[in-house]
């Protein structure tokens, strides 16, 4: 095993100091579901590991009247099992329940998954559909980035060296809102061959006042399906099928491997966009 120094800071401030001191030599450890396998396979060999699991305050999930806050170190299970989330924003626990298996959900973290930005991870789709804001601590203080600006490319995010994702903030959806997450699991890993999160708010007439659709597993990074959203705003459930046909508009490069071709992933994106939107509208009504 390649030796490494292990640090377990208790405060965000000391974590930040360590991250800045060690720079590229350091890897930040959250739930360990991506970093530890990489180290075991010798694909990653950091000389310093900074374990955030002891940092106070990063695990909390709170659901206020206006804002839902998810600490970056909150486990998937913490979101899945939160008492208030099913009524405030059901898309969050529904997505959490689709991740891996019970062991993974008990250990893996929301922030870890988002910062890792696996192209087939579930959270990015949902964070996009919920217009989540990511709070990031850095050498120059705090900044917030919208989910739609965060996922850049395959395993690449807007996170800069020396920065740590600390919290996810989501506005509690308005009355008459509904969400749904639909995915096909890659049969071995359980990651999404395609996963679509949809969140809608209906107007008094039952048409879509707002629509947001996030797609994962299909392209090098999760993306917002703006063409779908544009086609559906102001429309009702009858327009879902036509709108969903635009689920991959603008995607230039598709993920492709022995589990699924790019064409099939694109097809699944359209099918699941339709299913997720139909369910979301149904739930909003």
């Amino acid at each position: 095993m390649t030796p490494f120094d292990y640090h377990a800071p208790k405060t965000l401030r000391s974590a930040m100091r360590l991250v800045q001191a060690f720079g590229d030599d350091a890897k930040v450890l959250a739930g360990g579901h991506s970093l530890i396998p990489s180290m075991k396979l010798r694909l990653a060999a950091p000389s310093v590991v900074i374990d955030l699991s002891g940092v106070a305050g990063l695990k909390r999930v709170t659901a206020g009247n206006e804002t839902i806050s998810i600490g970056a170190l909150a486990t998937h299970y913490a979101v899945e099992s939160h008492r208030l989330l099913p009524s405030k924003c059901s898309l969050l626990p529904e997505t959490a329940a689709e991740i891996g298996d019970a062991q993974v959900r008990n250990r893996g973290t929301v922030g870890g998954s988002i910062a890792h930005a696996d192209p087939a991870a579930d959270w990015p789709a949902t964070m996009l559909a919920l217009d989540a804001q990511f709070d990031i601590a850095g050498p120059d203080g705090e900044r917030a980035v919208a989910a739609s600006d965060f996922f850049v490319d395959l395993f690449i995010t807007d996170l800069q060296p020396g920065e740590i994702l600390t919290q996810i903030r989501i506005a509690v959806p308005a009355e008459c809102s509904g969400g749904a997450y639909v995915k096909m699991r890659q049969s071995a890993s359980g990651f999404a061959l395609a996963g679509v999160a949809a969140q809608v708010t209906l107007d008094d007439a039952g048409n879509c006042a707002s629509v947001a659709v996030g797609v994962t597993g299909v392209a090098p990074a999760a993306y917002r399906a703006h063409a779908v959203e544009d086609a559906l705003v102001g429309q009702g459930i009858d327009a879902v099928a036509d709108a969903a046909a635009h689920a991959t508009d603008g995607v230039e490069e598709f993920q492709e491997d022995h589990h699924a071709s790019g064409d099939y992933r694109a097809h699944l994106a359209r099918v699941f966009t339709q299913r997720a939107l139909s369910q979301a509208i149904d739930r909003a009504a």
Partner: protein, 777 residues
Amino acid sequence: MPVSKSVGARIKRREDPRLIQGLAHYVDDIKLPNLLHVAILRSPYAHARINGINTDAAQNLSGVKSVVTGDDVKDVIGGIPCAATDPEGFPGIKVPHHPVLATGKVRFVGEPVAAVAATDAYIAQDALDLIEVDYEPLDAINSAEAAFADGAPVIHEDWDDNMAFTWSIAGGDVDAAFAEADHVVSQRIDHQRLVPNPMETRGVVAQYLPGKDQLNLWSSTQIPHLLRTQISVMLSMAENHVRVIAPEVGGGFGCKLNVYAEEALLGHMAKYLGQPVKWIEGRRENFLHTIHGRDQTGDVELAVKDDGTILGLNYTVTADVGAYYQLLTPAIPTLTGLMLCGSYTFKNVQMNLKAAFTNKMATDAYRGAGRPEATYLIERMIDVVAHDLDLDPLAVRRKNFIGKDAFPYETGTALAYDSGDYTAALDKALKIADYEALREQQAELREEGRYLGIGFSTYVEICGMGPSAAMPAGGWESSTVRVDPTGKVTVLTGVSPHGQGQETTFAQLIADGLGVDIDDIRIIHGDTDAVQYGIGTFGSRATAVGGTAMVHAMGKVKDKVVDIAAHLLESNPQDIVIEDGKYCVQGAPESGLTLGEIAMVAHVGVELPEGTEPGLAESHFFEPPNFTYPFGTHIAVVEVDADTGEVEIERYIAVDDCGNIINPLIVEGQVHGGIAQGVGQALYEEAIYDESGQMITGSFMDYALPKAHNFPRFELANTVTPSPVNPMGVKGVGEAGTIGSTPAIANAVIDALKPFGVRHIDLPLRPEKLWKLMQET
């Protein structure tokens, strides 16, 4: 068998408390003083020349005790054995030398090249990175087709092509059958390569005791005695100075019915280094260098009459056996040939096999071992016949079933099916399924654009392996039953259970047979110094063959117990019965003697009948007169999502007939696991090597095993047709679920897609494959 309380009862497995509490001792739980840890450097290339190996840097790493390469051991460790190389059976067979560490050339990714022993496992692993191997990559062969292509690179350069062996079998008159046929129904069928994936990977601990010149070898194996024999040959040691112990073994599925490089290598290193050594296989190593299963592709032709009567079968097949042979590699496809007639009456049958060397891991016995290929092939083809002739697949089955009065029945491949009633199992399954209602539901759903499929498999398979004459290395089994002075019973069995539950089922048989409490019985297995020679656990043989050996040994003990009891009770042996746990004259249990009391008399030795030896221990070696042939009907009900191609198993009905049942709970457990594993082949699993010979499904992130959420609750039942082959009337059930389920699922999915004109699809039935077929029509 005596009237029993224990046999037939749903007794929980006595093994389970230690397994689920983490109290079991696997190879990796063995800790010895001064233990060194071994890591294996494996070839990253599928095919390459080794122009040199520099181990200096690795040797110099602190904590490294030794680095060995192929050149270091080629003169002291013999080749990895294969027990199925008889040129009379396999005309023209090429038997390449199979070194424990590669010399000169590597022939598959994962082939061992060097080994490091170090003071801890991490240092050993680190040292691997410091070994410099000068490889000269060669073109790789990743399929039998590529192996036989003109100008293909030759894997074993002692010969000039990659043809490993040929094999054929013929029965009846195939030409006449095809001349008489109204139709010839043909289909190319692929049996994809699979990875066995036991929960516990392999592992070896070796310890050499110089004072005794004794090698102790702990290995996660299914065959401790056969392994002892082979290791003693490979290491040129006297066999009675080698002790092999199979401690708790966490599953095998056939992949531990073998002799592997690491077993001999660690034995050698322990002796050479004078320190015990341990190697625990990583999961990725297991994918690359533990045997694989299946990997046959062939063309099937059936000669069929208008009414669906099958007259004959012709199967021309190639097998991709990998780069070398393991213990039984060439024998596996021969089991396919033997079982081609399935549960049907046609006797005109022919199979011609060509096997290719490729740059892959060897294939060998994986749960079912050759029989799943035969069952999948014939059960799939029955449905293809029904499709082509527009017949009901059930009608085709019934038309061709061997009738229940025909047993014992000689097949076209000269097997003698022992007993069966195939119609009874089918009828029972149909009743559970409520078949007519299912077909109605299917029709209704199709109107809604939903695609339900109903698939059958009316399988028969071979268990109780087997008569020695039909086996490469002995097919008998052994047991010793002894009663201790205090009346506790110890059984030494030559089989080597690793999940099958014989510590429970064997104790049930003893409890009833000797009239003792099941808690007073201990089953010892898997230690060659403790147990008389045995063949091991594989081929669903442990109870049918090993259990029979034990029952016979127990019978000898019981005869002696009864003689002593009669003597003490001043009665005749024929008047002694067991009542309330006492040996007594019938009707007088109050004056009877417990087994313990009789055992003490046998031990003390002064009150014995004249001429009776003291002690209570008897052995028996049982040679089975035949295999056993369990059978059954599996019905799968699936729905295929028209938009995505996803398959949902709605219902799964299995009626299995494994003869008499000793423990229904254990039988169900075997069937559950078996079904899951067979469904894995049907829907998910596939070992894929790319063009350069890299395995791209080398972890659980990419190789899909079935998971609990993929299944509905199984609906299980049995018919009971006792086997005449052994006194218990048992057949075996270790592989039935796997053999039965793959074709049931495939037939169900293809039935679901019937409106799209689909006739056949190769496995695994991935959603994308199904979706594309639905798009094409």
